[in-house]
Amino acid sequence: MAEATSTQRLQLVEDWAADVAVFRGVPWGKAMMWIFLLSDTFIFSCFLTSYMTVRMTSAEAWPNPSEVFALEAFGVPVPLLLIAIMTFILISSSGTMAMAVNMGYRRKRVGAALLMVVTALFGASFVGMQAFEWYKLIVEEGVRPWGNPMGAAQFGSCFFMITGFHGLHVSAGVVYLLIVAYRVWRGRYEEKGYDIVEITGLYWHFVDLVWVFIFAFFYLW
């Protein structure tokens, strides 16, 4: 075990010191996608940190998300019902995406394309539910970026910025998935190899990853 760690440490030093491309064996597209995702991590973290700051400094009570986002099912309000469904949908889409990557590397391009389309459909339904959630909050509950009837005025701006930016990522991901799925289905990557499916997958899993943090910090906290 200790030996493995020291080999890895050696490999790290050699990779960075070798005066050649550092990320050996990593396709360029993948390295660049990771670096893009790193920058996106910082953007989302800035949103979440400002949300934390605004919530901690507010002398007024923060609206209770468990109640704000409750939905009535069979006549009883169930806390966070829609959000829970959205969470499971996004996780499932990550599952089908992982399958698509696997199919791609096994050269089953029709299967990979189909699974990507399924992933995109999950994503589209997620955005649809989010649109419903926004509608409910704006029209029925009267939440605005500058105020709301439930408590601290900053609730609305945090909510719209964070979920809006995430929803934009999901929407862009749906388009991205459909374009790559179409190309995979047409056989465009037969010669080049199917790294592209893994790279698209990285973006998609990242969108799911961000939702994990939004779910924890905005909806559950």
């Binding site: 390295a31 790193l38 940190t49 901690m56 829970a84 499932s92 439930m150 408590g151 199917y194 799911d208």
Partner: protein, 117 residues
């Protein structure tokens, strides 16, 4: 061209998929059961980190990447912890200032749920 990508048995993805469902259900139950205070916050963080860890390590294949890539991507977000600590520290101060100088009143309890009728 030879495949340079990540290929792993499909069963591992099904396992992680299932685990993510379990952790999500568990974190939802934290809210449903109405846990409060430090118990609630620590459970939320634990389930969140478990989910994030499995997504990055398995779905995004990070555990099979070379150390050079892992360190390049995983270390920089550590700087964010510094930002969070700084802002949390500053927030307490701002909040106290608002109470003391702006005559803001400490909110007693969260407001009652909005009426749907």
């Amino acid at each position: 061209m030879a495949e340079t990508g990540q290929q792993h048995p499909i069963s591992i993805y099904f396992w992680i998929w299932g685990l993510l469902f379990v952790f999500s259900a568990a974190s939802y139950m934290v809210d449903y059961a109405g846990f409060q205070g430090y118990l609630r916050w620590s459970l939320i963080i634990i389930f969140m980190m478990l989910k994030a860890g499995f997504i990055v390590a398995i779905f995004m294949h990070m555990r099979w990447e070379r150390v050079a890539l892992i360190t390049a991507i995983m270390l920089p977000p550590g700087a964010l912890l510094v930002l969070v600590c700084l802002m949390a520290w500053e927030s307490d101060y701002t909040w106290e200032t608002r109470i003391v100088y702006l005559g803001a009143e400490i909110a007693p309890e969260p407001l009652p749920p909005p009426s749907h009728h």
